[in-house]
């Protein structure tokens, strides 16, 4: 077991418009990329966001050594209950996942 954020170069999250959130995991090299692709389950991402894993789009991108997830924003951007206008903080929760 290892914390995802310590294995990879960077975990980034950002709005993809007001209704979607996208999370990019930059693995840095092919070896780490293979491990992340193999061990990081989409259901783990669903658990982080209390989301339905069926709504999560996953892109494994070997050319960039990037694993990307996009999902409907946990709270619509700027809605009354929203806590992060630009959606960048959520990367921390993904980086703290154990794989």
């Amino acid at each position: 077991m290892a914390e995802l954020g310590t294995l990879v170069t960077k975990v980034r999250s950002k709005n993809a418009g007001p209704f979607w959130l996208t999370v990019d995991i930059f693995c840095g090299n092919a070896e780490v990329y293979s491990r992340v692709v193999r061990d990081l389950k989409t259901t783990q991402i669903a658990d982080v966001f209390h989301a339905d894993s069926q709504t999560i789009k996953r892109f494994d991108m070997p050319n960039l050594n990037v694993v990307k997830f996009s999902l409907p924003r946990p709270t619509v951007q700027g809605a009354i209950g929203d806590r992060d206008m630009h959606g960048a903080s959520w990367a921390a929760l993904v980086g703290e996942l154990d794989i």
């Binding site: 950002k14 709005n15 993809a16 418009g17 007001p18 209704f19 979607w20 996208t22 990019d24 930059f26 982080v48 966001f49 209390h50 789009k57 892109f59 991108m61 050319n63 960039l64 990037v66 990307k68 996009s70 409907p72 924003r73 946990p74 619509v76 951007q77 700027g78 809605a79 009354i80 209950g81 806590r83 992060d84 206008m85 630009h86 903080s89 959520w90 921390a92 929760l93 703290e96």
Partner: protein
């Protein structure tokens, strides 16, 4: 070949004047800059205002107007004034007039307006001309009519119409980020996939390069693809930095939907020409059967008052969550008892900075903070009601004890008064597309002579 000079990712973010001069020396065919996005939240669209300071906007715009005059090519801004409403376009036009007047310049300005009448959009919704995109909220015609502002995102067709007027400057309301960059290359017969892909790579300025703060980039579009070159000292583009930019703020890194079709970069190839420039080919433009434009709308969500306090007493820091829950329960009861308001008409929430303010129920970690920032957030139908609830919350945040037995505590207020009034706040309402028979149907183009 069409050469597009992009000074930065947005007007108001500043640009490197030396790099801009280098770009002018390369003789661009057009200078294109974005003026906004939804990224700063619904308030700007709701109020129809810019997030950037007028002083910064004027200074940077004056620099670009001078660059345009020197190059003798059109200057285009898309999504003027952050949100691209007609009011934001007028604000930008006013700044343009002021600069022209100060310099004694004569100008032909094309103004493209993107604001929509909520009543007409509601009618189009009833007529089935509006389709939700994935992740769209449920909306009714009442929700649509409640919008303070609705804009449609123009594509290349509307920008091309503005360029065809022969204007020196084009001030466009809401457009897609890419349209202002892709329009001229497409008008001049460049590769369609390359034009849209290059525009997407360039829309954030030098964010596609190694020195993202440097701003200025140059893109050469031709009949097989495009070449991107950052212009600041020490800025480099590599196949990795350019291809990785398709990840940024995109829910799908291969597909980008635009008015009239979509871009597919699955088969794109990225080649380093040297340590600065990257060549991209193989991107594909796929036209759609129906011409649609995306809609954005913001409607009032109530008035907000915020009250802040600080907990530093270790016992209160350790028990902050229970303390805050108790306050919300007791204060809510007091609001219902003393004010003429229903429970469903207001929202009272306390967030604890240092503990769970970032993620609320999604937080997985616990810690032992030195202090906790308490943010009381009230949303109510009117500003007066939000302010009144703030005053009811005030004594709790100042003195609420953990137990009845202890001496009354006093916490730190940062200000007098501690209540901060945000006025009316907004929420995004639409994530839909509107079908148009003719691309200009939802837009108005006007040519204005200045000076």
């Amino acid at each position: 070949m069409t050469r597009v000079l992009i000074p930065s990712g947005a007007l108001g973010l500043n640009y490197d004047p030396e790099a801009l001069a280098r770009g002018l020396a390369a003789k661009p065919d057009i200078i294109a800059i974005d003026g906004g996005s939804t990224d700063s939240g619904p308030s700007y669209l709701g109020r129809g205002v810019s997030k950037y300071a007028r002083a910064s906007t004027k200074l940077e715009w004056a620099g670009l107007m001078a660059a345009r005059a020197k190059a003798g090519v059109p200057l285009v801004i898309g999504t003027a004034g952050t949100c691209g409403t007609d009011s934001a376009v007028d604000w930008m036009l006013d700044i343009t007039r002021e600069i022209a007047s100060e310099h004694g310049t004569t100008l032909k300005v094309a103004v493209l307006r993107s604001s929509q009448d909520p009543d007409r959009i509601a009618q189009s919704f009833e007529a089935g001309e509006i389709t939700p995109l994935p992740g769209a909220p449920e909306v009714s015609t009442t929700d649509i009519r409640a919008c303070a502002n609705i804009v449609a995102l123009a594509g290349i067709e509307q920008i091309a119409a503005a360029i065809e007027t022969g204007a020196d400057i084009i001030i466009a309301g809401r457009t897609t980020d890419t349209a202002i960059i892709a329009a001229l290359p497409l008008m001049q017969g460049c590769h369609a996939g390359g034009a849209w892909h290059g525009a997407k790579i360039g829309e954030c300025g030098a964010l596609c390069a190694t020195n993202p703060q440097s701003g200025v980039i140059l893109i050469d579009f031709d009949t097989t693809g495009f070449t991107v070159t950052p212009l600041a000292d020490g800025a480099h583009a590599s196949p990795h930095t350019v291809s990785a930019h398709m990840l940024y703020e995109n829910s799908d890194p291969f597909i980008l939907h635009e008015p009239g079709g979509h871009l597919d970069v699955t088969a794109a190839s990225y080649t380093a020409l040297n340590d600065t420039s990257v060549r991209v080919e193989g991107s594909k433009w796929v036209p759609s059967d129906r011409y649609t434009v995306k809609l954005e709308g913001a409607r009032p969500a109530g008035a907000r008052t915020v009250v802040m306090a600080l907990l530093r007493d270790p016992r209160y820091v350790a028990n902050a969550a229970a303390w805050a829950d108790d306050i919300v329960t007791k204060c809510t009861a007091k609001v219902l008892d003393r004010m003429n308001i229903c429970a469903e008409d207001f929202r009272l929430e306390i967030r604890l900075m240092g503990q769970s303010a970032s993620f609320g129920a999604l937080e997985t970690r616990t810690g032992d903070p030195v202090e906790i920032g308490v943010i009381g957030i009230i949303t109510a139908p009117s500003e007066a009601q939000a302010a009144e609830i703030g005053k009811l919350l005030n004594p709790y945040l100042l003195h609420h004890p953990l137990t009845q037995e202890e001496e009354q505590p006093t916490f730190a207020f940062l200000f007098s008064p501690p209540e901060m009034h945000q006025g009316i706040v907004y929420e995004f309402t639409l994530h839909h597309v509107l079908h148009l028979e003719n691309p200009m149907d939802a837009f108005r183009l006007e040519v204005i002579d200045i000076g």
